[in-house]
């Protein structure tokens, strides 16, 4: 009796070992979907929740949310190239609704947007090629992580300091003047001046071109729209009025990330439409609520929250780089292309 029981155990042992627990198994079966490009079975609820949360924040802060989405996707086991490519597609969707909402409120400086976009496309093409090379050398993951730590760390710190000071000033009752009319910085000395009516600016086209190119480059390597770079750059370097900044950056992001999505598909086969759709549907819903909530928040408080979030993500990524990994080895199935 006992021995025959044990014998039949032999067959079932493996099963109980692999599927952590029975009740968990049913939920997994109901809520999972196979991602054709990422080649993994994913939990729909997890990715829906992720999309919703990131969408809310992107609507709230007027950023693409890619700088949160890509790391979250990588943490949850999506290959980093798919996370970057799919992240770009998701930002297209989340930004398009945001950009249209902003456009209706007349918050987009089209001329400025086009200059940023021209730069962005150049940056994106260069970025995607660099990703391709880095993947062949095996340093892509490191490069993504380092880029995130660097940019998020710097931007987060700057924003945190600035927003804290602004909150203090607001509490103290001091009137904050965004832009002093007679104030000039080095940017005003550059050639190729253009007049940007909506932003009430007369500045060289070079800085927006450079900013656009840089952001396009980041879009390609980080799967982020780059709003977290572009918004501060436009506010502090170009002195674009804050109400125009968000709409204009969204305008540029839509087109740059669309181009990046296509490039990642042709160069790296890194776009998973199924995953993108899950993130889009949930992200768009979240973004609408975020945008509504954002219009009721004060600018400096928004910036403080965003800064805290940015620093948190930065810290989380650097953690993995510094702490001794359990497994020193890693394997990747591709040599050259996937």
């Amino acid at each position: 009796m006992r021995s025959s029981l044990i014998r039949s155990d032999a067959i079932t042992i493996q099963r109980t070992g692999n599927f952590a627990s029975a009740q968990d198994g049913i939920l997994t079966t109901l809520m999972s979907i196979y991602l054709p490009i990422a080649e993994m079975s994913a939990n729909v609820l997890l990715f829906l929740g992720m999309g919703c949360a990131v969408g809310f924040l992107s609507g709230l802060f007027g950023v693409g949310g890619g700088f949160l989405m890509t790391p979250l996707l990588i943490f949850s086991g999506v290959p980093s190239i798919v996370a970057v490519g799919t992240g770009a597609a998701q930002i297209v969707a989340s930004s398009v609704s945001g950009a249209i909402a902003q456009y209706r409120r007349n918050n987009v400086d089209i001329k400025m947007g086009l200059v940023l976009l021209a730069g962005g496309l150049v940056g994106s093409v260069i970025g995607v090629q660099i990703v391709k090379i880095l993947r062949q050398v095996g340093q892509f993951d490191l490069f993504v992580a380092l880029s995130y730590v660097t940019f998020l760390g710097v931007i987060g710190t700057l924003m945190l300091i600035e927003s804290l000071a602004a909150i203090q000033r607001a509490r103290g009752g001091t009137v904050v003047s965004r832009r002093k009319p007679g104030q000039h910085n080095w940017i005003h000395g550059l050639p190729f001046k253009m007049r940007f009516h909506r932003s009430k600016l007369y500045i060289s086209a070079l800085p927006p071109l450079m900013i656009g190119a840089f952001v396009g480059f980041l879009a390609a390597i980080m799967g982020a729209g780059g709003g977290f770079i572009m918004v501060p750059a436009m506010i502090y370097l170009l002195r674009v009025p804050t109400n125009v900044v968000v709409g204009t950056s969204l305008f540029q992001i839509v087109f740059v990330t669309a181009a990046t999505t296509i490039l990642h598909s042709t160069e790296n086969h890194g776009v998973d439409v199924v995953l993108a759709l899950i993130l889009i549907v949930s992200g768009v819903v979240g973004a609408q609520f975020g945008a509504a909530a954002g219009s009721r928040l004060k600018g400096e408080e928004l910036r403080f929250l965003l800064a805290a979030l940015v620093l948190l993500v930065s810290f989380r990524i650097s953690w993995d780089l510094v702490v001794t990994p359990d497994e020193l080895y890693s394997i990747s199935t591709m040599i050259g292309a996937r």
């Binding site: 669309a258 296509i262 509504a292 394997i331």
Partner: protein, 333 residues
């Protein structure tokens, strides 16, 4: 005062994210139950191994005999039955193994969460008195298609863990599951196992021409071990020492787990029949593992027409974004 509500909303969103971020940092509350389950499975196996040993009619003493025979790939036809039974000189018909798989073709659709296949078969001309006799040993290997792979090693450079060295392999099985009637080391000599690529340590990993020259033997060995270890962690290399069971004198069966992340492609099932360390017969059959339905369409679309696929992805994204924005147009601001 009015803006307090969105702040509360923000913390509501931020809090679970924080938990996720910390949770993912590897303090592993998620992985704990699985580890526990594996540990108990391990214990059960060990217990079982002991029981089985006690039950065996002849202790493994003669099994390790005749090591020089190991070199021949197929058992020599001249001496069909080494005399374990009472010196029967009359030539008994040779044992042969035949097998099949429960599912010849597995569809990977959007609902694919892994599956299980049953490999079953019979030993022709079985001389086994009963299912429990332990006269024969069966090893079942299910293998995925071989693919090139790069293994990389991290080392600490200025405080950061960075990939600093690598080894390329031209062919590594994408999936390798092995089950047997008892642990492999009890079944046959390492040499025979190695020759037939039986066992996780004997999986055929062909280093690339360059890698073999650049790396020392020890380094290459470390890389091999790492590949096997990582594949094991991903559930792509599986081992079950007691996964094959005889049901009758000649009928046996085993179940093989295909995890959700099993690479899509044809699988080959090899069945090996051993007796006392001697490989008597082998049998090979195959399983098709194919994408089907929308998964297949999308995959082909992405791989063969990447430009169109990229444009398609953008159109889908823009469409979804616009649809939602019109849907929410009347939402109060």
């Amino acid at each position: 005062m009015e803006h307090l509500i969105p702040i509360r909303l923000c913390t509501l969103i931020l809090a679970p994210m924080l938990v996720f971020l910390i949770g993912a940092a590897g303090f592993g509350p998620l992985s704990a139950p699985k580890a526990a389950a594996q540990a108990t499975a391990q214990e059960k196996k060990q217990e079982k191994r002991k029981q089985k040993k006690d039950r065996r009619p002849q202790p493994a003493a003669p099994a390790s005999a005749e090591p020089p025979q190991a070199a021949t790939p197929k058992p020599p036809p001249s001496e069909p039955a080494p005399a374990t039974a009472a010196g029967l000189s009359a030539p008994l018909p040779r044992e042969k193994v035949e097998a099949d798989v429960s599912t010849r073709s597995i569809a990977v659709t959007s609902g694919f969460t892994g599956t299980e296949i049953i490999v079953f078969g019979t030993v022709d001309n079985s001389r086994q008195p009963s299912a429990e006799a332990g006269y024969y040993d069966i090893v079942v290997v299910v293998e995925g298609g071989a693919a090139p792979l790069i293994a990389r090693r991290k080392s600490n450079v200025a405080g950061l863990w960075i990939n600093t060295a690598s080894a390329a392999f031209t062919s590594v099985p994408s999936y390798y599951a092995i089950t047997s009637t008892r642990p492999l080391e009890e079944i046959a000599d390492p040499a025979i196992l190695e020759q037939n690529a039986i066992g996780l340590e004997n999986v055929r990993l062909t280093p690339a021409a360059g890698a073999a020259d650049e790396l020392t033997a020890a380094e290459l060995k470390d890389y091999r071990a790492a590949v096997v270890r990582i594949k094991e962690e991903e559930d792509l290399f599986l081992r079950d020492d007691y996964g094959v069971a005889f049901i009758g004198r000649s009928l046996f069966r085993s179940s093989v787990e295909l995890p959700p992340n099993v690479p899509v492609g044809p699988l080959t099932a090899h069945v090996y029949l051993f007796r006392e360390g001697e490989l008597l017969s082998t049998f090979t059959t195959s399983v098709k593992l194919e994408r089907e339905g929308i998964e297949l369409v999308l995959y082909h679309f992405a791989m063969n027409y990447p430009l169109l696929y990229g444009i398609f992805a953008v159109v889908v994204a823009v469409g979804a974004g616009l649809l939602a924005s019109t849907g929410f147009r009347r939402m109060p601001r």
